[in-house]
């Protein structure tokens, strides 16, 4: 010590000796400022991230919540056997049922009402009637009360999406129709209720936008996520374990390693091209099937899971491995008993992020037939669920967002809310597990 200062010549650099602990010296003050700054950056980063989240969630909620309510017309209807037979005769049967509805409502509203107005106010409910009566022929001739959704315009008017002025030159709704709708609402014929149909319903065309629901595609996404989870987690973890713990360090494993990181950068649509070529054209799996979607997304998710798993395996201190090997555990046992549990938080993080990505991905689905107008019924059996044509939530949202009628825009945001809820539910288990396995050593 003494000779250090001696060789340095003038007064020793650094801390003045014998300083008080209670007064912070200049250098420490500067370092503490740096510390404060550093910490502030951290807080700022978190706050920034959270505020972005807040803004996004707020805009999602404000645009999407209206999708969860709907306006319905309550209507007592009597369909006679003759009317039924006549309608079933037609080629365009549902249109015939629609006419029945319109006429009935028009007569209920009084002479002065233009049936065309009623037509514009009511959504297309012909199919609702038809399926009801074909299933319950015994109710023919009786009076049945139906609650049928109003048309998307009227719905939009009641939700404030559409203004009266805006309809001035629209062929879909006239100011008179709006007056009539207001009147019907005052009379209690039109009421607002929670839109279960949105949650349980299936895709509908632009002809019947109010009926469109996210339900079937939730099921599609669910089946895809099952495939992704069941395949990508074990395969990803197994591949990481091999690469990190067992692989001899040679050219071949380097190639695998680079390959995996590279796969992460492959645009998702290219996975769609691959899926189309391999799973559909080569392996002969059906188009638009959640199974194929799940397989494609599995390939897409694998790199994410592998990269995060490897990073966390690598972070486990070697002394733990030594300890296990030292008592005569095999490499396999040391990995599965000690290293893997310690790496679990990172694995779960990778899984959460990978699944989130897979759940929200549309592009690869475009090529394997899950984007468009699909998913018309719920699967009857489990295998049907995997193999039957279905869509997925992001695909549904994507197609809705591109549709002309603004109610679809609302539904798209509503779909995003459902997707996020789905995502959170899916992640909660992983997050809870992760919290249990987090520890420092």
């Amino acid at each position: 010590m003494t000779d250090a200062t001696a060789t340095n010549g003038s007064g020793a650099p650094g801390r003045p000796r014998k300083s008080s602990l209670l007064t912070v010296d200049d250098r420490t003050r500067a370092r503490n400022r740096a510390e404060t700054r550093f910490k502030a950056y951290g807080i700022a980063a978190i706050l920034l991230g959270l505020s972005f989240l807040l803004v996004l969630v707020w805009s999602i909620l404000s645009s999407g919540l209206p999708a969860f309510s709907r306006n319905v017309v309550s209507l007592d209807l009597t369909v006679t056997q003759e009317q039924y037979d006549a309608a079933e005769e037609q080629m365009f049967k549902t249109a015939a049922y629609e006419d029945l509805l319109i006429n009935s409502l028009a007569s209920e509203m009084g002479e002065s009402v233009n049936p065309e107005s009623i037509e514009r106010i009511l959504g297309s409910s012909g199919n609702t009637l038809r399926s009801y009566y074909t299933a319950n022929e015994n109710r023919l001739g009786e009076t049945v009360t139906f609650e049928l959704p109003v048309s998307s315009r009227v719905d939009g008017y009641f939700k404030g999406r559409i203004s009266r002025e805006g309809q001035a030159n629209s062929s879909f709704l006239t100011p008179e129709d709006i007056d009539l709708a207001d009147e019907m609402r005052e009379e209690g014929i039109i009421t607002t209720q929670f839109n279960w149909q949105f949650l349980t319903g299936v895709e509908a065309s632009d002809d019947n936008p109010v009926a469109a629901g996210i339900g079937a595609s939730v099921v599609g996404s669910l089946y895809m996520m099952i495939v992704v989870l069941v395949l990508s987690l074990p395969i990803g973890v197994a591949a990481s374990i091999y690469l990190e713990e067992f692989a001899p360090k040679n050219r071949f494993t380097d190639i695998i390693e680079v390959n995996i990181s590279n796969l992460a950068a492959v645009p998702s649509i290219v996975f769609g091209i691959l899926g189309l070529a391999f799973f559909i054209q080569f392996a002969g799996l059906p188009r638009s099937a959640p199974l194929v979607g799940g397989l494609v997304l599995t390939l897409m998710t694998l790199p994410t899971i592998i990269i995060s798993t490897r990073a966390s395996l690598r972070a486990v201190p070697p002394s733990i491995r030594d300890a296990a090997l030292g008592v005569g555990a095999s490499k396999m046992q040391s990995v599965f008993h000690h290293v893997l549990p310690l790496a679990l938080p990172g694995i779960l993080t990778g899984t959460i992020i990978g699944l989130a990505q897979a759940l929200g991905e549309t592009a690869p689905l475009l090529l394997i037939g899950m984007v468009g107008f699909v998913a018309l019924k719920y699967p009857g059996t489990v295998s049907e669920g995997f193999l039957d044509s279905n869509s997925a939530m992001p695909a549904q949202i994507y197609t809705w967002a591109a549709r002309a009628d603004q109610i679809f825009y609302e539904k798209a945001w509503g779909g995003i809310i459902v997707l996020l809820v789905f995502l959170l539910t899916m992640n909660i288990i992983a997050i809870v597990l992760r919290r249990r396995f987090e520890r420092r050593w």
Binding site: G166, N208, R287, F373
Partner: protein, 327 residues
């Protein structure tokens, strides 16, 4: 057990046709005992590419297209064994020019206005220069003094082609720029190309997404003018107002009569070999082109399709399964 064979009709192709096809598919499922067809989107190109992959269960039955099939595509199809194709024209799609409802009053456009506003090169005082205009009023005194900002379909859209030919090229000829180009030493093709080349200085923005994106852009740019399909515009009259083109108001009637200059036919193509193999395929085509569906007053027209005046011919064509080569 026996492998399940496919029992629903599979359709893919143009996203412009998608809404119409899905309306029909839905109604077809509701009104018949056949399962509802699956209609995929993804563009005319992908649809036709898949259509031409070959015949058999693993390929699609119908391709939707917002343009006629090309000869090169027909050749590829034939090479893959798809030699019998039934072409069905379902009607017309009008292309309209609309702007924000609270924005400047554009009122009436002429093709020449558009050419002068967004072509890369225009003749100014007889000389060909880089397009100097920044305001519509500089192009045409009748137009408001609003910054030029247009949102036109990206080069990969079928609409773009129609826009280029019926608006830009037309405008090019109307303004005499075409001649000026030729005079300046270009050959005819070169001049046409020059007519249809759009400036790249940010005044005209290519939209690669769909009309929703154009709408979103217009709502954040009061001066913006966008190109839309008629159906899309009609669904959004409360945020958009439309301008006339060549003095004609776009509507189902003016388009059907051919008065309105910018419209294009929409198609779907049926793989004849699949008729009789895939249940419901022919029935779907028939249902689609039925008067009650594709005719005036039907759901397609309600949504914005301009019905084909020659609907009856098309119906006969489907009935007889007449392929393109037989016509």
């Amino acid at each position: 057990a026996v492998a399940q064979s496919r029992d629903n009709v599979q359709i893919a192709g143009s996203s412009t046709v998608l809404p119409y096809a899905s309306i029909v598919a839905e109604a077809f499922g509701e009104n018949t005992d056949f399962p509802t067809p699956v209609v995929e989107s993804g563009g005319s190109s992908t649809g036709l590419a898949r259509f031409c992959e070959g015949v058999g269960e693993g390929t699609i039955d119908i391709a939707n297209a917002s343009r006629p099939i090309r000869d090169s595509e027909i050749e590829t199809c034939a090479a893959n064994g798809v030699d019998e194709i039934i072409e069905v024209r379902i009607g017309y799609d009008g292309i309209v020019f609309a702007s924000q409802i609270d924005g400047p009053e554009f009122g009436a456009f002429e093709p020449s206005d558009w050419f002068m506003a967004i072509a890369a090169q225009v003749p100014v005082d007889g000389e060909i220069t880089e397009n100097p205009y920044t305001s519509w009023s500089e192009v045409n005194g009748d137009l408001p003094d609003a910054e030029i900002l247009t949102f036109i379909p990206g080069t990969r859209h079928g609409t773009r082609e129609v826009f280029e030919e019926n608006v830009l090229l037309q405008g090019c000829e109307d303004t005499g720029a075409m001649e000026a180009f030729i005079e300046s030493g270009m050959d005819e093709d070169g001049a046409e190309e020059a007519c249809m080349t759009v400036r790249t200085d940010g005044v005209s923005v290519d939209i690669d997404g769909d009309y929703t994106e154009t709408l979103a852009r217009i709502s954040s740019n009061p001066n913006g003018v966008g190109v839309f399909g008629l159906a899309f515009y009609e669904n959004n009259t409360d945020s958009l107002k439309v301008a006339t083109m060549g003095g004609v108001e776009p509507s189902t009637e003016t388009i059907a009569s051919g008065e309105y200059p910018v419209s294009r036919p929409l198609f779907f193509y049926v793989k004849k070999a699949h008729i009789g193999v895939i249940p419901g395929l022919k029935e779907y085509a028939q249902f689609f082109m039925n008067d009650q569906v594709a005719g005036a007053g039907g759901p397609l027209a309600n949504y914005g399709l301009v019905p084909d005046p020659e609907l009856a011919d098309t119906q006969a064509l489907i009935e007889n399964e007449t392929t393109m080569s037989e016509m």
